[in-house]
């Protein structure tokens, strides 16, 4: 055998990080016209317990695999994953009925580090399906509500019909979250706020030095939201965002998810805005 580096070791098991674990759809909840939440229960060995903000690679048999952030983890085994149908794989996953089998790899990546809001105001800003990876943050905060001062959730969606977890928003209010919702375009039944989610930010920040912010949504929404938070006096280090790039492996092997110095499957998806700001400002990086 050749003299080898510390990373070179003999194979440990036949089942590597590339083999999916089998899960079945225990329940399926339509969120919007194109978005579905699946409750997934393991058939055999489950994946490791995820931390809020991590993602899995979900496999539809014979179709393909895509990264999906985890929107909940219940009873120590049930994965909650919210998927928007935008391509062949996501369409197949969204169509999966209870009992259907799905392949799961993961969990991968960094997490929100919810503890950063301990003893502080927690400010969560979500755009569209960006609320999905933030749901575990809310659930963690509300499970230990006393650890935080204010827990504020700002939600933006294109229209009332595009709001995900709409029924849960009320529950979260009851459990002590200050939930404020806005839509880009209202309809006849909508009596709430109309406008971009960034416009809710100024009124939501009370003590910028004592606020930890968690932001997820389309990249452009995260940039403008984070800038608005910075303008309110919140340090970029105290703002965390969840970034998205093409992902193939989840294990820092395939090179697809590079964003400058970062491999987002390993160094992300959740990073501080201080780190993300110069990278997302660069075109076509």
């Amino acid at each position: 055998m050749t003299v080898t580096g510390e990373h070179v070791t003999a194979p440990a098991s036949a089942l590597g990080p590339m083999q999916p674990s089998r899960y079945v759809v225990a329940a399926r909840q339509a969120e919007t016209h194109d978005t579905v939440t699946l409750m997934l229960r393991p058939v055999g060995d489950p994946i490791e317990p995820p931390r809020p903000g991590q993602f899995t690679m979900l496999y539809a048999y014979g179709v393909g695999e895509i990264p999906v952030s985890i929107s909940g983890f219940h009873r120590g085994q049930v994965l909650v994953q919210t998927i928007r149908a935008v391509g062949a794989v996501t369409r197949a996953l969204c169509a999966a009925a209870p009992g259907a089998m799905i392949g799961v790899r993961g969990p991968f990546g960094t997490d929100w580090q919810v503890h950063r809001a301990d003893g502080r105001d927690m400010l969560v800003v979500a755009g569209g399906i960006g609320l999905a990876p933030l749901r575990p943050v809310l659930l963690a905060a509300l499970a230990e509500r006393a650890r935080y001062d204010r827990v504020v959730l700002l939600v933006g969606a294109r229209s009332p019909g595009d709001l995900v977890f709409a029924r849960e928003l009320q529950t979260w209010r009851r459990r002590g979250a200050d939930v404020r919702v806005t839509v880009d375009h209202g309809n006849a039944d909508w009596h709430g706020q109309v406008g971009l989610v960034t416009r809710l930010i100024e009124g939501a920040v009370e003590d910028p030095a004592w606020t930890a912010a968690f932001v997820c949504g389309p990249e452009i929404m995260m940039r403008f939201s984070a800038e608005a938070l910075v303008n309110c006096g919140i340090a970029a280090e105290n703002i965390r965002v969840s970034l998205e790039r093409n992902m193939r492996c989840g294990a820092a092997l395939c090179g697809h998810c590079q964003l400058g110095p970062l491999l987002l499957c390993r160094d992300g998806p959740v990073v501080s805005y201080a780190e993300a700001a110069p990278l997302v400002a660069e075109k076509e990086l």
Binding site: M1, T2, V3, T4, G5, H7, V8, T9, A10, P11, A12, S13, A14, L15, G16, P17, M18, Q19, P20, R22, V24, V43, Y59, Y61, G62, V63, G64, E65, V86, G87, G99, A100, M101, G103, E244, R245, N246, R248, C249, A251, A252, L253, C254, G255, H256, Q258, G260, P261, L262, L263, D267, E282, K283, E284, L285
Partner: protein, 380 residues
Amino acid sequence: MDTAAAIPVPRLIDAEGLGDLFQALVTGGYQVIGPTVQDSAIVLSELSSAAELPFGWGVRLQPGGYQLRHRDDAAAFGHAAGPQSWKRFLHPPRERLWSARRTADGFDLDEADDDEPPRYAFLGVRPCDLRAIAIQDRVLAQPGSRYAARRARLFIVAVNCTEPGQTCFCASLGAGPGADGGACDLVLTELLDEHGHRFLVDVGSQQGAGLLGQVRSERADDALVRRARSAVRTAADRMGRQLEAGDLRGLMADSYQAARWDDVAARCLTCGNCTMACPTCFCTTVEDTTDLTGEHAERWERWDSCFDLDFSYLHGGSIRSSAKSRYRQWLTHKLGSWHDQFGSSGCVGCGRCIAWCPAGIDLTEEVRALRAERDLREEQ
């Protein structure tokens, strides 16, 4: 026969001894991979004997050009890097990750192939490529991976470089021309003179010593050792190219907005040849397939290139749609962000990307231009 540990090194073997060394590898259960002439190029292939090595062949290299030439001597390793690198054996271009079959309740993965991973012996690894293997180790040798399994069984016979090619610049990056310090089992230095065709053999590992112990060798006298060392050392002065390697990482980080990217994009065909020829480029994609019945599904990994438009595809479009952004990604990754991700540069100075670029784009020239542009920016 002396025991391996007792043999004072370096040792000397002749061309016949090289054949014996080859046979010792075969007897030891290794599949020997080495350079050989095929399709007007020196490629890397499984060899059945040392006679298949490219004795008497050299290469002429230039940006966008590679040509075999007859040498005046019978050197087996008198050639610079060819179109392939050793990654095609350790990190194959196409590999099945798993297969599955449809079942009543969904699907089930087939048992993983428990075939013993191949025991490769690489014969003729240049120091630049030795560095490249070490770089890929840091990316790909995750515990339990097939790469790690192949790597752990690998035997490496490196060959010091005494005759760099016109596109070579390993000396600029400290990756050659000598294999000093690189992890390998044996290191040869090829010597052709009035005394014949011989190889000085240095030992890099216990396994290397063990193998050398099975081959007829003699003590190398001090004068010969000095001559061999000098031939390797002075090869550093005969590199066809040079790269000013100081603070390349900083240069890349400062150059995202450089005008030079437009200039290179006007020449770059985004064909991805550089990434295929590069011994460290490791990117892959996956392909999911089913048979016609849908009863059987497979997932394959295959080499991918950051020059491919689909590489950065995200629902709605590709992040890097311009040629400029894709060349920038490749170069800034290779020389800059590779440090952030894997703790070293991704370039070894083998020159393959220069020779195998159909447009003849020269990495060393692009870096020079980026440096000049930054200097100018800073003066203003």
